[in-house]
Structures are given as structure tokens and as C-alpha cells.
Symmetry: C2
Subunit: 295 residues, 2 copies
Amino acid sequence: MNNPIGIISMQFVRPFTGAHLGLFSDIKAMGFDFIELLVPEPEDGIDLSTARTALADAGLGVVLAARVNPRRSISSEDAEARQGGLDYLEACIEAAEGLGADIIGGPLYGEPMVFAGRPPLPRSDAEIKARADRMIDGLATAAAKARAAGKVFALEPLNRFETDMLNTTQQGIVAVDMVNDSGLGLMLDTFHMNMEDQSIPDAIRMAGTRIVHFQANENHRGFPGTGNMDWPATLRALVEVGYSGPVSLEPFRRDDQRLALPIAQWRAPAEDETEKLKAGLGVIRSNLMLAGFAQ
Amino acid sequence: MNNPIGIISMQFVRPFTGAHLGLFSDIKAMGFDFIELLVPEPEDGIDLSTARTALADAGLGVVLAARVNPRRSISSEDAEARQGGLDYLEACIEAAEGLGADIIGGPLYGEPMVFAGRPPLPRSDAEIKARADRMIDGLATAAAKARAAGKVFALEPLNRFETDMLNTTQQGIVAVDMVNDSGLGLMLDTFHMNMEDQSIPDAIRMAGTRIVHFQANENHRGFPGTGNMDWPATLRALVEVGYSGPVSLEPFRRDDQRLALPIAQWRAPAEDETEKLKAGLGVIRSNLMLAGFAQ
């Protein structure tokens, strides 16, 4: 398969601001087809029209990654946070229109856990049901708006420490089917799947044509090819379900074995990682290319 | 190999109190050799001598699991929390003496993250170094006391969301080697390794004779045999390094695919899980038994 393969902007810099548009041509030169860009915040100082031109000049595509927080949380029990979530998803659609992106992915349901300092807490059956209902309501509203704008939201389950809304691929499938709107599809990330699913290839086959975005990450989140992920089996499953959409890499490498290192915290690259990124891209592109062949 | 195989008390009940000593014979009857018991808290109402007798009567061994928190944290920058950590580890040794346990395992360094509602935060190089130094100092003090009592602490790296002190097996090896005391060894848990190590079998081989306790958990933490863990390769590596110590199961099963379910929160079993536990035990015991054979 010839899926476009991209790289997350955070690989290079965070925040990605208007001063970093020159990275687009570097990323293209490394061999990537698109950048996965965090939806710009006002303080990032990115003029969407300028950025769109820079993407076109570099010949680089773009997929957007939504950034939720406790105040942008369509599933929250707080009405203001729910509205904040809806407003944010609408702003994401506008950003996609401005940048010329078709897909906006991420944990759209809000309710971040470890990254918001929220511990796992017990919930009653009624609370679980109410939060799920709010999630589906909010997703339905957002999906309709995305569809009207010709965009699609890609709903991403996260591991159990990052959220308590959707963890497994099966839960993601149920949510997408409940919303049942072409403005909402599923996004799968192998890092999370490796913590939550029984079998990554089986989960991909189960998700099938609902998949609209895919992130190919190692078990430890480093460069593809440096961990224990079974890339041939994973990518064969992706080919088997006919997935022709984007495949994004998010290799937040370790490259540092100091004791007491906060590895889940974003760190700037300590060196030029071009060769490692190209090799990681090669692992995914080569395996994906060969996944369609019997032998 | 004929390693003793055990099961964590939380599988059945939490808190495990003086009223639950009858579970010992149930656990033995399922085929387990030991119970991994959370170090009793005063409010659990467990009389150590009574519990020791109940264990002996049931023919069940015991390994202890330490429970740290932000106030029991030898690596903390707060002097009171550090002392609380040291006092707690000393209390663990006393509990081991009272119960007749030889091994006390867990994230002894303190500093819990997601379960204490602490988000990943950036740290300066100086802070990273200072926290690591405090961890090693505290472990050295605790290890000397354990050794004097004929006990051993088993230091457990946790995944990046549960702590920022030790995540990889390699970091655990460095810490154990820095302390260099027979009162401190390494505990490996395949659930965490699957998120942090390049290869679980390679990590086991690297850790070698430092391993004093092992937890055999699925990638998604359910019953062994229901996930993607490569048990033959993992257990062969354990046999290869000559590990003859305890192997513990901690299958916090999902068995519930409701949306918005807080899966990282402890939940009581919804049904009698005896048959699943026996099958999970069978997967580990059978693979471990065969791991020593060439074919």
C-alpha cells in the first residue's frame, strides 16, 4: 500500500509556532508525506493562510491533532467545560479549513487523566452511563459539523492512564457506531493498543473501515523498529481492511537512561535525529509496501 | 523450572482484612503456591501471628507488596516524606518478620504519579540528579536493614505514567548495582516492561541474577493467555538466567467493555473467577515447566 506517512510536529519542537514553518520542507526532505500538526493555539502565532501556503510550497500534507483539557471536555459533568469542548472542536474544524486539512484526530471526548493530574477514581454505574451519554452527544454534534464542512474527526482511544473514557479499540468502535455519522471515524494508535487490546492485528480487523487515521508507534514510543511491535503483522492487518489513509509516527524517543528522568514529559531532541527518523519511516513504509504481497 | 507461583490478594478483595484469612485455603486449592499480600495497614485489622498461622495451616507461602504514597517517599524533596518512606520500609521488614515472608517488593522509591494525581512535570538536570541520589540513599538504608533481618527488598520499575523514578529494566539494574547490597534485588513486571523495554526477553537476560521477584502480567493486565505476551520466550529467558524465585500473577481483568469505565481503578470481581485463574496459572506454570526443554 502507498498510504501517506507523516510525522508529529512535537518530534521537532513544542510549541510549534509561526517561526517554525521552515520545518515543513525539512520534513518533506526526510521523506515524509505529511505533518501531524497540533491544532494551533492563538499564542502559537500561526497565520493559517501563511502556513497553508508554506505547506503547499513544501509539498507537504497536514493532519490535525486536537488538544483537549479539563476545560475542553465534551464528556465533563461541568456544563461550562462541555461547552468549552464543543467550542474547541468547532475551532478545530475552522483550523482544518484554514490549513486545508481533512482529518482532525485525538481524544476528542476530553477528560484527560494523568496529563491533567487526575487520578483514576471509582465511578458508580449511573455516573459511567451519564459520562458515556455526554460523550456520545458531544461527538454527534461535532461530527455533524465536521461532515458539513467536508472534514472528519478521528476518535482516538487512549491507554487507561491517559483517560477513562475510551481505552480499547472495541470501545472506540462502539462509540463510532453509536454516533453513526461520516463526520466521525476511528483513529488507532499502536502504543495505546499495545496496553489495552488482546491482539493489535485482530483489533485492526475488527475496526475495519471505521479507521480514518492511524499512528504507528513502538511499544515504548521510541523510533519504529527499536521495540517489540510486530510491524509486519500489524501492517498486514491494515492492508487487509483496505486502509488507504494516513499513517503517522510519534516517536517520543527515550535516548536517555538517567535515573529519575520524567520520560512522559515532552523533551526537546538532544541531537539531530534525521537518520533515525528516516530509518523509522523506512521500517513502516517498507513493511506497508510489502504487506500486500503474499511472499 | 518449578518456581513457586502466586496470586495478588487484590484479585479477590481490597482491603484484605483479618476477616479474609479464609481465602488462603481457597487460593491454595486453586493451585497457587503463595499469596502476594499488600503489606497490612493498621486499619486492615490483621494480626500478623494469626495470619502466619493461617498461612501455615493452608500450606501457602507469602510475598509482600509495599504500598508507597507521597508521604512515604524516600526520593521526595520533602524531608518529612523521605523519613515517612524510610519508616514505612522499616515497618515492611517488621511485617515480613511477623508473617514469615522473605521478600518485600514494589516501587520502594515512592513518588507515585498517576495514582497520586501527579502529572508528568519537567525537571532540571540538577533536580533529576538530586532525586536519583535521594532514591539511592534511601534504598541503601532500607537494604541494609532488610539484609540484617534476613529479608530482601525487590525494587520494581513502573511504567512512565505511574512513576518518573525508574521505568526501564536498565534503570532498575543501575539502581540495584549502585546500592550493591544483598538486601536489595530487582523485581520485574511484564506489564510495565511491555511499555518501557525494547525486548522483554533481552531485558530479563540483562537483569540476570539481580531478579528476586517476577510478576507475569498480560499486556492489558487481564488473565495470562488472553493478551499478546509471548510467554514461551519470556519464561525461557527467565529459565536461562537461572531464576528460581517466585512468579506472581496480578490479573486485574477488564471483563467489562462499557464506555467511560475507569479500568485503572480497582474493581471487585463480578463473578467467580476460579476457572479463569486456574487457566491463567496453567499457562504460566506449563510454559515455565517446558521452558527448560529444547523441544
